[in-house]
């Protein structure tokens, strides 16, 4: 049996039944991943203890104990999450040699469900970027076309899943960093409702926006990973006490009575014609299963980039103040404490990170705080109100993830503002704390994947998982694979 041909749920089931060994699955994925990584650079490091973890899973099965939902499944972890005793770099020189003494809650929960951590994936430095070109460990290549970006900031996780260098991945999304790379790499990516998944042990970028979430090949597989990591965590006071539904089990394709919102302002942007065609087809697919389409309006949405690029860098400037060279991270040669701070930070941080720290420091500084940061927070409330009002008339919304498919490496990095404008469709979701996902829905003539974005009200992930699976069933008939296969 070719172990690499099994899906995540198939692998977990066969491992639980004892039909296959977790150790063999891990060996197969490790070998393939190490080989492909030379070209794609999706992983920053591999877990040398992966086989030991896999062995433990096989032992549990031998002792007639249930290893869990993700038994024996190799999962990639974005290097923004702390993994105990495994280097966790955040894609930065600052944390190049940082070995955390604890694991993120998300990692602990995956391990509790029998998952095997395969390694730490590459990302834009401190999760700041939309192309995985700002990493201190080199760019990641898109498996569908290695001259193009995989998206960002979770480019490594997305590339790993797309190239079958793991059965799934964990990534994070602050302004689109799960959905956009999932879209560019032709895989499923879910950003849960703010508060659904614990942020404990995840390197903070913007605390009111950050959420960890799964990436996978199918909607069902990705929903299983989401179930494994969700739920209240006493160590993160922003997590919700709401019960975690059995999303995978409850997937249903009957959309009769379901109303799909089409946010008018999103479609007023210049969208590539091939992307538009795939979006239109997706609306038709949902209609064919009983749904009705309704135009909705989000008048504040056109301001989302300004709101996001004021709120996120402001929070980041505060969160990244901890990197002072005192307790961990890069320390520069210095004669006194002032130099310690100034030089360590200057030497450690990359350009994009510095840019955002400066932006945030400016927005929070005396004389500008009200006009910029507070103004943005007020606008944020208006945006949330827009969504709440629109959701009174629809069950969820469908829109593009980005205006184009994956762009060329080096194509946008020189113009920061042009890069920021990539996030026009994804940032509103984070600002409003809503659950959002990207599901593959087609390809451009050049063979590049295009996904559609689904956004639901707070805690209504089931609605978009259902719709995503419908779209998945009706579009992936030819089962294309990237060249690296």
């Amino acid at each position: 049996m070719d172990l690499l041909k099994l899906s995540l749920s198939e692998t977990a089931e066969k491992v639980r039944k004892g039909e296959i060994k977790a150790v063999d699955v891990t060996k197969a994925y490790l070998e393939r991943s190490k080989s492909l990584n030379k070209e794609l650079n999706a992983y920053i490091s591999f877990n040398e203890k992966a086989l030991i973890a896999a062995e433990k899973v096989d032992q549990m099965v031998a002792n007639k104990k249930d290893p869990g939902l993700l038994a024996g499944c190799p999962i990639a972890i974005k290097d923004l999450l702390c993994t105990k005793d495994l280097a966790s770099t955040a894609g930065s020189k600052v944390l190049k040699n940082f070995i955390p003494p604890y694991s993120a809650t998300v990692v602990e929960r995956l391990e509790a469900q029998g998952a095997v951590i395969l390694g730490k994936t590459n990302l834009d430095e401190f999760a700041m970027g939309s192309s995985n070109e700002t990493s201190a460990f080199g760019s990641v290549k898109n498996p569908w076309d290695v001259t193009r970006v995989p998206g960002g900031s979770s480019g490594g996780s997305a590339a790993a899943v797309a190239a079958k260098m793991g059965l799934g991945a964990i990534a994070t999304d602050t302004g689109g960093s799960i959905r956009q790379p999932a879209n560019f790499c032709g895989i499923v990516g879910i950003k849960p409702t703010y508060g659904r998944v614990s942020r404990y042990g995840i390197v903070s970028y913007a605390s009111s926006l950050d959420q960890a979430g799964p990436m996978g090949v199918t909607v069902e597989d990705t929903a299983l990973i989401l179930e494994s990591i969700s739920g209240h965590d006493p160590r993160d006071s922003t997590t919700s006490q709401k019960k975690v539904p059995q999303w995978a089990k409850n997937l249903k394709g009957d959309l009769r009575g379901v109303v799909v919102g089409k946010p008018k302002e999103y479609f007023e942007k210049e969208i590539d014609s091939e992307v538009q065609k795939i979006i239109d087809e997706s609306f038709e697919i949902l209609k064919s299963q009983g749904a009705t389409i309704k135009d909705v309006t989000l008048p504040t949405a056109p301001y989302a980039i300004s709101i996001y690029y004021l709120v996120a860098p402001s929070e980041a400037s505060s969160n990244l103040a901890r990197y002072d060279g005192v307790r961990y991270g890069h320390r520069a040669e210095s004669k006194n404490i002032e130099e310690l701070y100034m030089k360590s930070r200057a030497e450690g941080f990359g350009r994009e990170v510095k840019r955002r720290i400066m932006l945030g420091t400016f927005a929070l500084s005396s004389g500008y705080y009200d006009a910029y940061y507070i103004k943005a927070c007020k606008a944020r409330r208006l945006l949330l109100q827009d969504f709440m009002k629109a959701f009174q008339g629809c069950d969820f919304m469908l829109s593009p993830v980005t205006t184009t498919a994956a762009f060329k490496i080096g194509g946008r990095i020189k113009d920061p503002l042009a890069m920021y404008l990539n996030d026009v469709f994804t940032t509103p979701t984070n600002l409003a704390g809503l659950p959002g996902m990207s599901v593959p829905a087609g390809f451009t003539k050049e063979g590049l994947p295009v996904g559609v974005q689904l956004t639901a009200p707070h805690f209504e992930e089931q609605r978009i998982l259902n719709a995503a699976q419908v779209i998945e069933k009706h579009t992936n008939k030819e089962k294309r694979k990237p060249n690296v296969y």
Binding site: F98, L340, F362
Partner: protein, 92 residues
């Protein structure tokens, strides 16, 4: 965003910056901050700022002491240490 203003921001952020970088940032940040000007068009009179996007659920726990990280764990990544203390260059 004039260079002197940027230098002040860099000091607040404890980031040492070369002239060349300040020049580049002055140009780029000015462009970005100018873009933010569009927010002036929004009427936010009487609107409360929003920070946490979902309903905050308050909960309490028992005041019980739990184990945390050991001193050894906490110091493990220290660039310089002495005993159970982090060591830094002179503060005064």
């Amino acid at each position: 965003m004039k260079k002197e203003e940027l230098r002040h921001i860099a000091t607040l952020a404890r980031l040492e910056m070369e002239d060349e970088e300040l020049e580049l940032f002055s140009e780029q940040l000015s462009q970005i901050i100018q873009y933010f000007g569009e927010l002036k068009k929004l009427d936010t009179e009487g609107v409360e700022p929003l920070v946490t996007p979902t309903e905050i659920e308050y909960w309490m726990r028992e005041d019980v002491v739990h184990d945390s990280l050991s001193t050894e764990d906490v110091l493990r990544n220290a660039p310089d240490k002495r005993g159970h203390l982090f060591k830094v260059p002179p503060v005064v």
